[in-house]
Amino acid sequence: MNCERSRELFADYLGEELARGEAQQLQLHLKTCQGCRQELSLLANTKATLKQALPEVAIPQHLSFNFSKPQPQGWFQWLRQPRYATLVAFTACFVICVASLALFRAQLEMRNGDFRISFGDQPGPTTTVSKERDTSFPASATREEVQAAIQQAVQRFQEDQESRTQQELRKLKFEVEANRHNDMKQVARGFKFLEETQSLVWKEAAKNSSYLDTIARDLFVKTSSTQQ
């Protein structure tokens, strides 16, 4: 081993990671080379001085970190988000207003561009209707008037019924007529089919008779020839 190679191993020696084989080779070289021996000795001494001069200094204060547990995320957490805050505020105001109006039974009215608001019970439209009825049947009506009104109502009802019956009759008549027309069509189709079938039967009969004639003629010819 030469000096160059031995100095390559100095770092391994000083780092206490020198392999056994290399340590033996280095030892052999150091026995013969005073320069390398002195150099390595000084380096080892420097290392020892460092360790001696700078002992471990205790940390001035032990470190510790506080980890606060995260807040549970409920379904309502999104309400706290700033982007929904305005929306939530407006909705809440609207609900409160409506609830207040309902609580005080407020009546809102817009008539001819005039907005009116009143609180408490007000006569409803049902009352108006009853008033109208009262007008048509005043409390001071006589028996004859009531009878006449009933007769008129019955007459109106009868007329109404009659007109409905007429409508129904017309409707039924139309349906009957339509059905009769369809039946006639069906009968016509049946006759036509019968005619066609009859003609086919006749044609087939004619064909058969011609065949029979041919066969009879042949038989006649054959028998006459055999007799001869």
Binding site: G15, L50, K51, E56, L63, S64
Partner: protein
């Protein structure tokens, strides 16, 4: 039934699942070593403590990105290293003002020693511990950041070359070279054969 101590990997996995106390256990386990490492790199207690705190805060924030939980300590040292580099650059940008010679005894001693910092290693035993500490700290300041970091991780923290290479993100051969050159520089500075690089 024997209790099995939790490894860094177990604790790191618990931290990822949201267990803050597991992180405090990791802090308690590594704060001293990390502080020593930072102190030897920065050379200042307050800076070292700040770097230490920043390192743990960043580690907690980014532990989800740590893929191999076995290497939590290496990863921690790596974060601290980056903070120390930032600190080193700031220090170079804004060099520390030398304290007044009359300010206090320690500052006076430092100034006195700065006049003649060529100390023979053979005489190391004759110095008072405080004197020797100042001499060595000043000597370390003459190393490049990479050399100082390698010397600290190897000599004081006792890490393997492969582990240092992982932290410093460089090949093992580079780490060995930095250790050799760093110790050679320190040797030159301390033995007084020649003034160290400045």
């Amino acid at each position: 039934m024997a209790l099995v101590p939790l490894t860094d990997k177990d604790l790191a996995q618990r931290v990822v699942r949201g267990d803050g106390e597991a992180f405090n256990l990791l802090v308690g386990r590594w704060e001293q070593k990390l502080f020593s490492y930072c102190l030897r790199l920065t050379g200042d207690r307050e800076d070292a403590f700040d770097v230490c705190q920043d390192t743990f805060v960043k580690a907690y924030e980014q532990i989800g990105q740590l893929q191999n939980h076995d290497k939590f300590s290496h990863w921690l040292f790596k974060i601290a290293r980056n903070f120390c580099i930032s600190h080193y650059r700031e220090k170079r940008k804004f060099p520390r003002q030398e304290p007044d010679a009359q300010a206090d005894d320690a500052a006076g001693l430092e100034n006195l020693l700065s006049e003649d910092l060529q100390v023979r290693i053979d005489n190391a035993q004759r110095f008072e511990p405080a004197e020797l500490r100042l001499i060595v700290e000043r000597a370390l300041e003459h190393l490049s950041f990479e050399q100082r970091e390698t010397v600290v991780l190897k000599v004081f923290e006792g890490l393997k070359f492969t582990e240092i290479a992982e932290i410093a993100n460089c090949p093992v051969s580079t780490v060995k070279s930095r250790l050799y050159l760093g110790l050679s520089e320190l040797k030159k500075f301390l033995s007084g054969n020649e003034r160290g690089a400045s």
